[in-house]
Each structure stands twice: as C-alpha cells, then as structure tokens.
C-alpha cells in the first residue's frame, strides 16, 4: 500500500462499498481528486492511492469513472460527442461533478 504513491492506478470507493480501479492519469481530470491524490499533499488519499467518495452511491461513482476513462480516451480527438448520461442520474451526477471539479 505504501508503494502505491507511485502506482499507475488508483482506487475510488463509493459509499456502498464498490471499488473502482482506474488509471491515475484519468482520475486526475478531476481537480478535487488530483489535489487529494497528489503524494506531496500529505492527504491519506495521496499516500494510499485510495479515495473514498462517501457522498455518492456506486451507480454514480461508476458513471464518474466511466467519464474519467471517456475523457482520457478522447482527449486528443476533435469534435468528440458528449458522453451519454441516463436522465435519472443527471442531477446527482451534476452535484458530483460540481464536488469533484470536473
């Protein structure tokens, strides 16, 4: 676990215990996660590479992780279509996006 400061992947945990392991570079799209996962920040997240999003459920966190990867995949492309978001999730996701600064 201590080694994971340099690890390529980070773990995002939802409030109902789902864990999502995604590339560090993808997670750093989010301003909030970038700051907390920065090893020099001395936050526990930065040291363990494990980030708990206690306010959001698994469904929302899954969608967020999907966006991180979607963004990573398309960052060098032109005219990228918007990611599809199920309407019933959009308000929660909006709050999450605001919180995570993405």
């Amino acid at each position: 676990m201590v080694e994971s400061t340099q690890s390529e992947f980070v773990t995002i945990v939802s409030n109902d215990g789902f864990e999502f392991i995604i590339p560090r570079s993808a997670a750093c799209v989010s301003g909030a996660l970038r700051r907390s996962l920065d090893p020099s920040s001395k936050f526990p997240e930065g040291i363990s590479g494990r980030c708990e999003l206690g306010e959001f459920s698994g469904v929302v966190v899954e969608k967020i992780c999907e966006y991180f990867c979607y963004n990573e995949k398309h960052k060098d492309q032109v005219n990228v279509p918007d990611m599809d978001i199920p309407p019933e999730l959009c308000l929660e996701l909006l709050m999450a996006a605001d919180f995570l600064d993405t």
Binding site: I64, Y67, Y70, N71, H74, K75, D76, Q77, V78, N79, V80, D82, M83, I85, P87, C90, L91, L93, L94, M95, A96, A97, D98, L100, T102
Partner: protein
C-alpha cells in the same frame, strides 16, 4: 432493348401474313372476279398499304438481326480476347437504336435528375465510366413497364403485375415479389456517404462561439447541466444545487427560451438572496409576484426581457420594504414614470447598483433626476437604450458621489454633447473603476484629456463607435497616464467613416497605429481582454511592432481584431507567440488568415475557408 417492342412486331406481321395469302393472289386474278374480302383488307388496299410489303420488311429485319448478332458475337469474343471493350453497351442492336439510346443517355446526363443522383453517390462514382453507368441506369428505369402492366421477372421469368414498389434486378429489369424479397435480403445497405475530411463550418463556428474548443471532451459538469436542461420538464426539484450551478442552469434555460411559470418554480429558493433569469418573456405578471413573495430575502434582482412586469410588482416591493440592493431589469416597459419615481424615493437609498436596458415608454429626464437625487449610494450605474433621456440627465450623474462603475449608451439619434461628460469625469472620474461609453459619436478629444487627467483607478475602459477621437488624442491618453495598466479594453469601431476616402485622412482618426502601440505599452502587462474590431487604420507595421519577438502579454485571454484586414498568417503566429494565455482570437473579415497552426485550447473565431492545424490535427473548413 429489342425485347421491348418485339411482341408487338410478332403479332402484326403474323396477322397480316394470314391475310396476305389472299391479297397476294389479287393481282393474278382476273379483273372483276374477287373472292371474299374483309372490310379491313379493303380499307388497307385503299390506303395503299400492302400486307405483303409489311411481311417482307419483317423477314428482312429478322434476317438482318440474325446476321448482326452472329457478327457481334464473333466481334465480342474477339474483343474479349484482346481487351475488354470500355463500352458498357455490349448487347447487339441496330445502329439506329444504338444512336437513339446514346442520345437519350446524353440527354439524361444533362438532366437535373442525373446531377442529383450523382451528388448522392459522389465519392463512389467519379470517373467517366461510372457516369455512363449511372446514366444507363436512369435510362433503363425510364423504359421499364409502368405500374399495372405485366412483365416477366428478370430472375425467375415468372409473369407478374408491375407495381410502384417493384424492385429492379441486377440487370435493370424488374423482379417479381418473391425475387425482390430475396434480393432485398442479399442487398446490403450502401455505405453511408462519407463526410469530407473538413469540418462543417456552421456547427464548428457555433461551438467556437459557445466557447468550446474543438478537441477533447466537455467537462462532466457542462455535460450534466445540458442533460438537466434537456429534461427540465421531468424535474420536480433541483435538490440543493449551489447558486453557481443554478445560475448556469438559468443561463442555459434562458438561451433555450425554456423559462416558463413551471420551470420558474425550480429557481425559487426562499433562503437565497439573489435571482438571475435572463429570459422572462414567458412569465406572466403573477409570476413576478411569486418571485417577490417566495424569496423575501432578495437583495439582488436580475431579470431580463421583463415585458409583463407592471407597477404592482414595484408597489409590492415598496410595501414589503424589500432590501433590494441590486436591481437589474431589461425592458420593464409597462412600469410608469410615477411608479419609478416612487420606487427611487422609497427604496433608492439602499440601491448599490442599478442597471436598466431598453425603456422606451417611461423613464424620462425628471425620473432620472430623482434617481440621482435619491439613490445617493449608487456605486454602479448602467443605462442602455433608454429612449427618453438625454444631455439633461447626464449632468445629474456627476452628483452621484460614490459611483465606481459607469456604463452609458444612448440611442444613436440622441445627440450628446461632450461637455456633460467632461463634468462627470471631473467630478467622479477619480474614483471610477470601470467606464463604458458606447456610441458617443460626437464626443471629442477633450473627453480623452479629462479621462487622462482625472482617472486613477480604471481597470476597464470601453469607448466605442466614435469617429471624432483622433489618433493623437488617444496616444496622449495612454502616454504617461498615471492610471495603472488596464485589464479590460474595448475600443472597437474607433475609426473614420468616409465612403469616398477608405484610407482615412492624413491625420488619423480613431484608434490607429500610434495609439495602438501606446495602448499596449501602457496596459500590456495586465491586459486580459482587448477588442479593437473595426479599427481599420492600425497598420501592418504597428501590429508587427506590438507583437514583435520578445514582447509578452501574459494575461491576454481574449483578443478581437476583426476587420483589421492587414492581419495575415504571419501576424497571427506572432500573436500566438506573444500571448501564451490566449483563449479566443476573433478574426472576422481577416481574409489573409489562410493557413495557421493554433495552440491547443485556443478558439479561433471567424475564419473563412482557412486551414487550421492543432497539434498535428489538420482541419480544413468547408464553406
């Protein structure tokens, strides 16, 4: 082709042939004695038509056709051995028919339908041969049996009735129902028309104007807000969205003109102190009451397109003695002068900022005078397109001693003198932080002098649409000015307007070369937003000097140089080099920008048909 009219030929000679036996005997028979003759034979004879001749003609044609087909077969086998003939017309036929068909094909090639089809398939068919093929297809389609007629199926030879839905077979003939079904299953959809590698200009420019750079994904936040706006009618309650998101949603919904009585409810939060709605055109008078009643703690009211707002709303505000500090209203034209005056008298002392747009039936000089009298704490004043005020009210503005932000624009038919503006400058100029004077056409260099003398704290300066300021006057303003560097400068349309002399007079009018250099020398270090659109007299040299190597404008994010027609690819690259933080460059009518390499994250707006390269991605605009 032969098959089309052969059946008819078949029948007529046979029939006449039968009769012909009798007719042929005719001449040998002695005159006067005649066997039984039908009325038709008589008729034909009287019209000098001989059945014998018809039969002979037919026999001859048959023989000829036979001979030709033998010949053609030989020829085609020979040709196949040597090389395949380029012609698609391989079937044998007589030269007259062939010529006719060729003519038909030429006609088709010139027709509109051909052009249309060609366009539809363009990309797939582009050489001569394909043109021929397409024309032939159309030709065959035209010669097909009409719906209702009978035809033989091209594949199974079954006889069937042609309908408008009958499908064409692989060789151009029609197919029966069963065969068309099979054919349909086999047939794959033709590949969708490939879009040209360029980008659609309209969509592209629309996105750029929305501030979207063309690469990468949008932020999750923005995507979600859009989605929420899409489904606004299904949403019961926003939950506790922070005010910043509420504002953004309000903007998007206003732009889509989706703010209605129903959606308004989502924005009414009793605990919030501000409301911003940029399109209230669909709200009724009751809705304004609802806003005021359900948000009693309002201190900031920002409503645009407020046509149905009436006196009662203001009366309600006054009765409740609401703590409104910021009142921004666009177009409340049903509010009377008497009501405005009352409002200023009752609540004016609390107002910190007042912004009004587009008032044509009320708000005259007297009301404005009362406003200046009672709203003595006003720090921010913006009045745009108020029809009934003029010079007289300008003089009153100088009595607003705590004014920090002033923004004025009159109707362009209102003639405004320079003197009242000078008075404002000398009385409140020293504390002004922002100054925006649009369309003061006749204000002259004395105003610039006063700004130079009195203003010490300006960060934003907008002087636009004027053809009286001289280059010298503007140079003097920015030279040795004790005001610190400006962050926001809008000097668009400071130029000479004389159709007969497009180059302008010797002594430059408006923002020209010298003043542009002086401006950038004064404010370059801090400047974030610069608009010099339509300042036509800024020379190539001046641009080169301002954006020379080694010059740096580290904070410049927005630059508008539209209608500066001298700017070319080289100058554009110089601009990118000198402005590392640049996010938007607006270049409408800079036609010399043809082929540029733009840094990532920059939106270049207004190019026409230019080739744009971003990090190795090349985009050519389709026009």
């Amino acid at each position: 082709m032969k098959t089309d009219f052969e059946p008819q030929l078949y029948e007529s000679p046979n029939m006449t042939g039968r009769r012909q036996t009798r007719q042929s005997r005719q001449p040998t028979q002695p005159q006067g004695i005649r066997g039984p003759r039908s009325a038709l034979t008589d008729y034909l004879a009287s019209n000098n038509i001989s059945a014998q001749q018809i039969r002979d003609d037919w026999d001859r044609r048959q023989a000829e056709a036979q001979r030709q087909s033998d010949q053609a077969e030989q020829e085609s086998s020979n040709a196949a051995e040597e090389s395949r003939s380029p012609s698609v017309l391989e079937s044998p036929e007589d030269p007259v028919q062939k010529r006719k068909r060729q003519q038909a094909i030429v006609r088709i090639k010139n027709s509109k339908e051909f052009a249309k089809r060609k366009a539809r398939f363009s990309g797939d068919y582009d050489d001569e041969d394909d043109d021929d093929l397409l024309a032939l297809q159309i030709h065959e389609e035209k010669n097909r049996p009409k719906p209702g007629q009978l035809a033989n199926c091209e594949i199974c030879d079954k006889r069937f009735t042609v309908t408008p839905y009958s499908k064409a077979g692989p060789n151009g003939g029609l197919l029966c129902v069963d065969c068309s079904k099979k054919q349909k299953a086999d047939e794959k959809k033709p590949p969708a028309k490939k879009r040209a590698p360029g980008i659609g200009r309209r969509q592209n420019q629309a996105n750029l104007l929305d501030g979207l750079t063309p690469h990468g994904t949008q932020s999750l936040l923005e995507t979600c807000i859009k989605k929420v706006a899409d489904y606004i009618h299904d949403i019961e309650d926003f939950g506790d969205l922070p005010p910043s998101l509420l504002l953004r949603l309000g903007q998007i919904l206003s732009r889509r003109r989706a703010v209605t009585s129903r959606t308004l409810d989502l924005f009414l939060r009793p605990q919030y102190t501000s409301i911003d709605l940029f399109d209230c055109a669909k709200l009724g008078t009751d809705d304004y009451h609802k806003i005021m009643a359900s948000m009693p703690r309002l201190t900031r009211v920002n409503l645009r397109f407020t046509t149905p707002m009436k006196d009662q709303i203001f009366h309600y505000m006054m009765e409740r003695d609401m703590e409104i500090k910021d009142l921004h209203l666009d177009g409340p034209n049903l509010v009377t002068d008497a009501c405005w005056r009352q409002l200023f008298m009752k609540l004016g002392h609390r107002f910190l900022s007042l912004k009004l747009w587009n008032l044509d039936s009320a708000f005259d000089n007297e009301t404005a005078r009362l406003m200046c009298l009672h709203c003595s704490n006003l720090q921010r004043l913006k009045l745009k397109f108020l029809h009934k005020i003029d010079n007289e009210m300008l003089e009153e503005i100088s009595t607003l001693k705590s004014l920090h932000h002033l923004s004025l624009r009159f109707l362009n038919e209102t003639e405004i003198k320079t003197e009242p503006l000078l008075e404002i400058m000398s009385s409140v100029g020293a504390q002004l932080e922002t100054l925006s004077l649009e369309e003061f056409e006749f204000a002259d260099d004395r105003l610039l002098q006063h700004i130079h003398e009195h203003c010490r704290h300006l960060t934003k300066l907008r002087l636009t649409l004027n053809s009286t300021f001289t280059d010298k006057g503007l140079t003097a303003l920015f030279t040795g000015w004790s005001n610190p560097a400006l962050t926001y400068v809008d000097l668009n349309s400071l130029r000479d307007v004389d159709m007969t002399n497009p180059a302008g007079p010797e002594e430059s009018i408006g923002l020209a070369s010298d003043s542009f250099v002086a401006l950038m020398a004064h404010s370059g270090s801090k400047i974030q937003h610069l608009n010099i659109a339509s300042c036509r007299h800024v020379s190539y040299k001046a641009f080169e000097q301002v954006f020379a190597e080694g010059k740096m404008y580290p904070n410049l994010k927005y630059l508008d140089i539209s209608f500066s027609t001298v700017v070319d690819d080289y100058l554009a690259q110089c601009i990118f080099r000198c402005c590392p933080a640049l996010q938007r460059l607006v270049v409408f009518a800079c036609f010399k920008i043809r082929d540029v390499y733009i840094p990532r994250g920059l939106a270049l707006i207004g190019t026409v048909g230019a080739t744009i390269k971003i990090d190795g991605i090349t985009q050519t605009e389709t026009i």
